[in-house]
Amino acid sequence: MNKLLVIIPAYNECESILKTIEGIQSLNSICDYVIINDGSKDSTRNVLIKNNLNYIDLPVNLGLSAAFRTGMKYAYKNGYKYAMQFDADGQHGSEYISGMLDLAEKEGSDIVIGSRYIKGKSQKHSLRTFGGKIISICTKITTGKKIYDVTSGMRLYSQRIIKLFALNYNYTPEPDTIAYLSRCGAKIEEFPVEMKERMFGKSYLGKIKSIKYMYNVCVSLLIIQWFRKIRGVL
C-alpha cells in the first residue's frame, strides 16, 4: 500500500474515466487510487467493472462534497498518509502528482494546492480567471494569506486533514473550507500546474451557475468564517 490515495469522484464520466485513470495507474509505485461513482446514470459503472478498476459505488447521486468525503473516509479507514482530489474529466494532469507529494513531505504541509495562477503566469482572461481573482482577494482578506488558486480542484491533503474530513460534517472540498483550515493553523502550499479543457461532456457548472457559485464562495469566505469556531484540532 502506498502513502498517497488519489480520490477521483465521477458522475457520468464514462467517456473520460479510462483516459484519466491511465495516467494514474502508471504511477502505481507512488499512489493508489479509488474512483467514487456518484450514482452515475450512464455506463460509468460498467466501464469501471469491465476494466477491473478500484471503485466505490454510491447508491444515489450525493454531489461532489459527499463523493469526496466518501473517498476521505476510505483513506482514513485504510490509514493513508496523504489523499488527493483529482477530477475524472481529464482536466487535471497526473504528471504533477509526484511533485505535489514531494512538496508535501518536504514542507510538512497540510494542504498542497495545484495552482493554475502561481508565479504570475499570464492566463487567458475569462470569466473564470476573473472570478478566481476575486475569490483570491476575499481569501486574503479573511485569512491574511495569499492563495493564488483557491478554487483549484487538485488538492493534496495530509493525514490530519483526512481525519477531519472523515469524522466531521462541515468539511467540503470548497474554498471556504480551505480558508477556515488556514485560520485553524493548517500549513498550505501551492504547486504550479496546468489544467486542460474538459475532454467530453458537460461541465459541472454552466455560466449562470458559475456566477452563482462565485457569489456563494465570496459570501462564504467573507461572512461564514465568522460563524465557525476556530478549533485547535490540528
Partner: protein, 121 residues
C-alpha cells in the same frame, strides 16, 4: 409607536440575531442552510431601528397600520420558507428511499456471490 415598544423591538431583534449566530456556531452547521434566517433577523433589526421605512410602505400600499405591513412581510417569508422546505424534504425522502433500494439490491448480490463461493469451495 411608543418609545417602550421601539425599545422592545430593537432588543428583541438583536437577541434573536445573537441567538441565531450562537446556535449556528454551536451546531457547526453549514451556514448557507441558515442563510435566510440570518437575513431575516438582520432585516428585523433594521426595521426596528428605522420604522420610517415601514411607514413609507404603509402609506404607499394603504395598509391600515404599519404593523399590518410587518405582519404581511413576515407571513410571506414564512410561507415561502415552508414551501421551500417541503420541496427539500420531499426530495430528501426520495433520495433516501432510492439509496435504501440500492443497498437492498447490493446486499442480495453479495449474498448470491457468497453462496456461489460456498458451493464452489
Amino acid at each position: 409607536m411608543t418609545m417602550n415598544l421601539r425599545i422592545l423591538l430593537i432588543i428583541g431583534s438583536c437577541l434573536s440575531l445573537l441567538y441565531i449566530i450562537v446556535r449556528i456556531r454551536k451546531a457547526d452547521i453549514r451556514f448557507m442552510d441558515m442563510f435566510s434566517w440570518f437575513v431575516l433577523s438582520l432585516l428585523l433589526i433594521i426595521m426596528s431601528l428605522f420604522p420610517r421605512m415601514i411607514i413609507v410602505v404603509t402609506h404607499l400600499f394603504g395598509f391600515e397600520s404599519p404593523v399590518n405591513c410587518v405582519f404581511l412581510f413576515i407571513i410571506c417569508f414564512l410561507i415561502y420558507k415552508l414551501f421551500i422546505m417541503s420541496i427539500k424534504m420531499s426530495k430528501e425522502k426520495d433520495k433516501m428511499v432510492s439509496a435504501l433500494e440500492e443497498i437492498a439490491i447490493n446486499l442480495k448480490e453479495l449474498r448470491k456471490e457468497n453462496e456461489n463461493e460456498n458451493t464452489v469451495s
